[in-house]
Amino acid sequence: MNDDDDLELQALQRRLDDAFQTTRPRAGFEDELWSMMQARRPLWSRVGDFFSGLVASIREAPAVPAAAVAVVLVVALGIGIIARSGVHFGGAGGAGGAATSNEFSSTAQGASRSAGTFGRLPVPAAVAASAPPKLANPSNDTGAGPASAIAYAGPVNLVWAGQFTVSITNAPVYRYYEPSPAEVDQFATSTGASRQSGSYAGNGFVLAVSGTNPASAREPSYAITPDRSKLPAPGPTAVDTANAFLAAHGLVPMWPYTVTTTQVADVVRVLYLRQFDMPDGGHAYLVDPSGERYGIEVDLRSGQPLQALGPMLLYLDVAVYPVISADQAVRSALATSANSAASNVPTVRLTSVELVYALAVAGDHSFYEPVFLFSGTFTQNGIAYVKRVIVPAVGP
């Protein structure tokens, strides 16, 4: 072999090294395959992991009082074994400043099919939305939830100046699979609708159902629109009317929630803000990628329902994951800081943190994952803003 030959073959080897090192599966394949592998494991094996993981996590936290351990075990047993409970608890405590209700037991976030582990979790879209945006295009949005402050989506320099009040060490992660056409039909039937020429309609209303929307990070949802000519008489309050409308279609939430109302022009919106039960007996709100709480929305005009939008009731699998430490959470939040000296980049003091849930879409299945929602307010050009930063609360 002459020198040229040798050099040519060495160059080819380098190209082969590069080719093999840069050929990788598409983004998301790793998570999809891992979830598929977990799902195909025998149920006994997954249940075994669930409980051994739980015991291990309790062992790792010797400071947890025995009573708290007992509560965690009771909740875990409930989540793992009970499918749909008819037990009704009392009020959930008044968040949101309006009527408060808690319709269903802590075990019935819809329903639970099995216990186990989901392996590596995908990152919720809400976390990606918290990444620092490009400095060239600072922007803000007005949000969509009940909060009146304007959410700021532009780049900011972040400082943590609050008390980390979340002390939970484990949190459930929920998983659902995209509903099949038969399941959608079943859901439509439960509202009183039936399939008619490719859509759903019932006596005095039409129903539309959509699957998970990865772009907006929304779970499978319904929209139910009543026939204006067949509306019932308005109730004493907007919430009463909304309750009656949902009840008439079997859509009263089966998960914990708080109720609040907002008004835009002549439309009153009644919001049933979804919550998830926590092992410590508390609740965690579900938030969208901008950090706004959401759930079912019932719009009313002149005291009568215009439309109701909400998540389909889905069967949820559950697995318990250890929650990251306060230090890790704060570091993750501050990592989204723009760290810019530019004069138009405000510095925001994050002063509060809350454990909430956000949706992570992963192909034909999605997860409700616990995340930390940091927030802080600031004023710019005389306008008050709130900056929210969302970081994962459990490891991948």
Partner: protein, 168 residues
């Protein structure tokens, strides 16, 4: 779990990309590569209880499963399509736009040439550039380390000729 056996999740994280690249160099599309890769890790997951780290390295063990799964794929799907492409000397088809975007386009042609090599040469190149030692390549191909080196160098020259012919 045995002390000398790492958690399967570590293996999965460390080897998924390498196994995929190895498989991708053998088959015609990223979709097939994903299917086979999934099968490899499903099989490995089920068999991991029986994996003995003192007998072989995790890399050699996983690549053996990958090689078998790839051969099974060819047996199941026949070699007609593959043979046709070899004769016609067409580039490997790729209908998956997302896959095309994900893969480095400049290396696809090179891997297509690898895919057209005779089976043992293709394996020698793919296994070696997936990070295996010549000793491990030799074990997988049932030959000595020296024979694996010779096979690899013949494959390398054949690959160079194949690329030259296409350019000409």
């Amino acid at each position: 779990m045995l002390a000398d056996r790492p958690p399967f999740e570590d293996l999965y994280r460390d080897f998924l990309g390498r196994i995929y690249a190895y498989v991708r160099a053998q088959v015609t599309s990223s979709a097939d590569a994903e299917d086979i890769t999934a099968q490899v890790f499903m099989n490995a997951y089920q068999a991991y209880e029986r994996f003995e780290a003192r007998n072989t390295t995790p890399a050699a063990w996983l690549f053996r499963i990958a090689r078998n799964a790839t051969l099974d794929h060819f047996r199941a799907h026949g070699r007609r399509e593959r043979l046709r492409r070899t004769i016609e000397h067409q580039p490997v088809s790729e209908h998956d736009p997302a896959g095309m975007a994900e893969e480095r386009i400049q290396y696809r042609a090179l891997l297509a040439h690898v895919a057209r090599l005779p089976e043992r040469q293709r394996d020698a190149i793919s296994l070696r550039h997936s990070g295996l030692t010549f000793e491990e390549v030799g074990v997988l191909l049932s030959c000595t380390e020296d024979a694996a080196k010779m096979l690899y160098h013949r494959a390398l020259k054949a690959l160079r000729e194949s690329a030259r012919e296409e350019m000409a």
